[in-house]
């Protein structure tokens, strides 16, 4: 594999270049137009207002100042990163700025309409499918004979693309039957097959984490030390998977099977009947055990279900779960009094578990448009700002966001479905190594982390950085260096391409001065160096 990679590496670069030639000479297809309205926008404003009020109360309870508003371009960058895993292209920024000049007073506002455009782009379905897959099946390859992660992710992307409601997706994932290739939802089950057997405990733990947002894994050996989960709760839930049967036609349910556990203390085997720890009335009487479990989990009164996905989408959009000091799948039990998660979760449920609606509401809040700048001067103050959402929190880009941003920065045009071949080929060879070296957190990707030395080395000296920023006639460095009208425009373009913002007056003066004396190759080198510096800035590798 390594040799193949060495042989193919130069080919990839050639491929990259030829596709970029294709892209640059492709007749200037108009970018997708901006939608003038959003679906069900009649009650949209009221839920956004309600959430804003709740957030205001939360800030006030900690004595925090008003939120500072971020620039539109900053918000644009965040949205692209969260919904497509990459930064906006220069082409998109230019389009945005053109519309901005004419549409400042429009309703719904420009950012909301731009969000809608990002959500209708198939890049959203592809990108979110992978994010959701991480919570459902993790990142391990599993047993290839019975488990096809790629099919599962493609299937999820299709469900998202066709606007399938989340509770329907959930039911398929838990209860579908058939082969992992033909009925890709069952890969959720087969991912838990170890040896020839289903690991019921692992599957149960994963089900509760992914769909109820809580961790009960440790209750498989003893009662949960902090929450109300008992070992018997865990076993009762695991028993819903007790009739799963792996056959030649795939995953089936065999009614003669019973779930058995071995007692960790007495070492004796005993049968366990399926049982739910709460909400017995939500359990359907009909259907296979897995269908019953799915019915119970997705029951409209099961607040944990909507809260869990709401919290996950919140974390994907805002960089941290709503209860930001706690892991995304360790949400406290639903409180007696409605909290913000409930407000959003209720709206989500009332709108037929529509994930796009949830994204729209979250991204329309004041918080999503707030600046990552704040008055916090110490770590303690900043911790309070983060906990009470008095600031848009800064989070490190995940490896796939960083590589997506680096690739996008190397092109003026948008890298999208029309250039998927480039993207996928490039990723096939590059992503595995890059993501591993950069440090992929797998299912824990929403945990907050600081930067590492390894990452700094990879960005500074790695092959990918060098290949992407070395100027050629087709990449953005070459084009910005050679086709900008003057030095000011060249500097401005470099900033927009890499940081999605214009340079400050000080920055402009500094770099104008740097470029002033230089000609030809020396000037191009200076632009390459500017790109390197932008790539290596905190601003580039963090979401803010």
């Amino acid at each position: 594999m390594k040799k193949l990679r060495i042989i193919l590496s130069p080919l990839i670069v050639v491929l990259l270049i030829s596709i970029m030639i294709g892209m640059t000479i492709r007749p200037g297809a108009d970018p997708a137009p901006l939608p003038s309205s959003i679906p069900d926008d009649d009650d949209f404003g009221s839920i956004v207002d309600t959430v804003n009020e709740e957030l205001l109360l939360r800030r006030e309870s900690a004595g925090l100042d008003e939120l500072q508003r971020a620039s539109d371009l900053t918000v644009l960058r965040r949205l692209s990163l969260s919904l497509h895993g990459t930064i906006p292209s220069l082409e998109e920024i230019r389009q945005f700025e053109r519309v901005q000049q004419t549409a400042s007073e429009s309703k719904p506002d420009l950012i909301t309409r731009w969000t809608e455009r990002l959500l209708t782009d198939s890049r959203f379905s592809d990108y979110f499918a992978e994010r959701l897959a991480r919570s459902l099946v993790g990142t391990d390859g599993g047993q290839f004979v019975v488990y096809r992660r790629d099919r599962f992710v493609d299937w999820l992307a299709e469900q998202l693309e066709s606007h399938r409601p989340w509770h329907d997706i959930t039911r398929d994932v838990i209860a579908d039957k058939g082969l992992w290739t033909g009925k890709p939802a069952v890969n959720f089950i087969t991912a838990g097959i170890a040896g020839d057997d289903l690991d019921h405990e692992e599957l149960t733990g994963k089900t509760v984490r992914a769909f109820l947002g809580q961790r009960i894994d440790c209750a498989q050996c003893h009662d949960h030390p902090f929450d109300d989960w008992k070992q018997s709760d865990f076993e009762g839930l695991a028993a819903f998977y007790g009739q799963v049967n792996l056959t030649l036609v795939g995953i089936e349910d065999k009614s003669s099977l019973e779930y058995e556990v071995e007692d960790h203390l007495s070492l004796e085997t005993r049968q366990v009947a399926p049982a739910v720890p709460f909400g017995l009335e939500w359990l359907p009487e009909q259907g296979s055990r897995r269908e019953q479990l799915a019915g119970w989990i997705t029951h409209a009164d099961n607040r944990r279900f909507s809260r869990a996905i709401t919290n996950r989408i919140w974390a994907l959009m805002l960089g941290a779960p709503y209860y930001s000091n706690i892991s995304v799948d360790d949400i406290p039990d639903p409180p007696e009094k409605t909290d913000l998660l409930d407000l959003l979760a209720d709206d989500f449920r009332e709108h037929n578990y529509d994930l796009r609606r949830l994204v729209r509401v979250i991204t329309a809040t004041d918080l999503s448009r707030a600046s990552s700048q704040s008055s916090a001067e110490t770590d303690q103050e900043y911790a309070i700002h983060k906990e009470y959402w008095g600031v848009f929190p800064m989070t490190r880009l995940r490896p796939e966001q960083l590589i997506g941003s680096m690739l996008q920065s190397s092109s003026i045009k948008t890298i999208d479905q029309n250039s998927h071949l480039l993207f996928r080929t490039m990723r096939f060879f590059r992503e595995q190594d890059f993501v591993r070296d950069y440090g992929d957190l797998g299912p824990d990707e929403l945990d907050r982390r600081a930067g590492t030395i390894t990452q700094a080395l990879l960005r500074m000296n790695g092959n990918l950085t060098k290949e992407l920023i070395e100027a050629n006639p087709f990449n953005s460095t070459g084009r910005v260096a050679n086709f900008s009208d003057n030095d000011r425009e060249c500097i401005d373009n470099s900033y927009l391409v890499c940081l999605t913002r214009h340079p400050t007056a000080d920055e402009m003066a500094f770099f104008e001065n740097q470029l002033a004396e230089l000609k030809d190759q020396q000037r191009t080198q200076a632009v390459v160096d500017l790109y390197w510096s932008l790539f290596n800035s905190l601003e580039f590798s963090w979401n803010h």
């Binding site: 050996c221 071995e262 960790h264 110490t378 070296d437 590492t452 000296n461 790695g462 080198q525 800035s537």
Partner: protein
Amino acid sequence: MEPLNLNTSAMTRRDTFRLSAGLGLSFLLPAIDLKAAEKRGIERQKSVIVVWLAGGPSQLETWDPHPGTKIGGPTQSLSTKIPGIEIASLFPQTAEQIHHLNIIRSLTSKEGDHERGTYMLKTGYRPDPTTFHPSLGAIITQQAPNSNLEIPQHVSFGDGQWPARGGYLGDQYDAFRIYDPGDGVHNMTMRVDEPRQKRRLGNLEVISRAFEPNRRPAANQSLHRKTLDDALTMMSSEQLEAFKTDDEPESLKKSYGDSRLGRGCLVARRLVESGVRAIEVSMTGFDTHANNYEGMQTQAEILDPGLSTLIRDLKERDLLDSTVVMCLGEFGRTPNINPLDGRDHWPTGFSCLLGGGGLKSGVVIGETDPSGDQKDPKGPVPVENLFATILHQLGIDYEKELITPIGRPMALAQGELIQQLL
């Protein structure tokens, strides 16, 4: 926070070093404290190597076999150089070295889940949603740093899922990870000449000046500047050689074994020689729910040469008295053999090896029931005691309390000293 300093006249030692090295003036630099590095025996500043067996190794197929019993399975035992003590016959080479360390056969923990167990065995604390505890290596490097180092103080080899972290001490104490040890550190060469590199770093200062105002705490916590600075220091450091094994004799490399674990153990020894304080060498594949015996045979073929050569090599170089070596995983495995010929998670009565660093040697602590009827071992050693003992042995006051970011005082380690080893 230390700025890059390229645009100021106040040069730190690091900057001087970096600049001098870049200009070929490294002969002007004071020699790195060679005397400290050359010290041997008990005089030397102490380090810790943790050989981490991810997945939960079976005590019955390693240091606590019970051949011929219902729970023993097909595993046989063999004599060691500790009189009367036998270990699994899968470890013939370790049997020859194990008397330099000690065996604890009665560790107890309350965590039977991989992630929680790993947390417990790497930090000495049970997971707690309100605090994130630092790992042993992080505590050591924070409490007793080696100021002469230009390479990371805390290093983790291998691809274990939950490497040692800095916890509430901060991400800067996270272990520096190398997945595949032996061929140095990747991406260490800058791609342009010195003047251009200087220009690039100067640009970076200008860009951060525009971004960082009103984001100071977030910028500090990102460690962006610190990691960049550390990376630059590393790039020009001769200590990087410690990560390479080119100049090691072939016979020694062969003895460690050409595996991630073997190479990791060899590089761990080299790092100890350079003064690195805390090293973790991880090996995965111990979660033997099915085919435990075959699985452990494969694992032992890798672990036995690596671990035994590490002990021998440290001993021969007179480094063992200053290097604590601990070999363990997140829990042990059930005495009972399941229908898949596997063993499941068992956080009660499992084993570890611990020794070196001036601890006693050849001591065996605790006993498990050969019939498997008694769950609790004799002479139980709570996992917490490992941490108290190791920190104490390194001259760190393990009872000292630090204030966590949420203002809660927290002792470096809970638990008590294992008196039999002192």
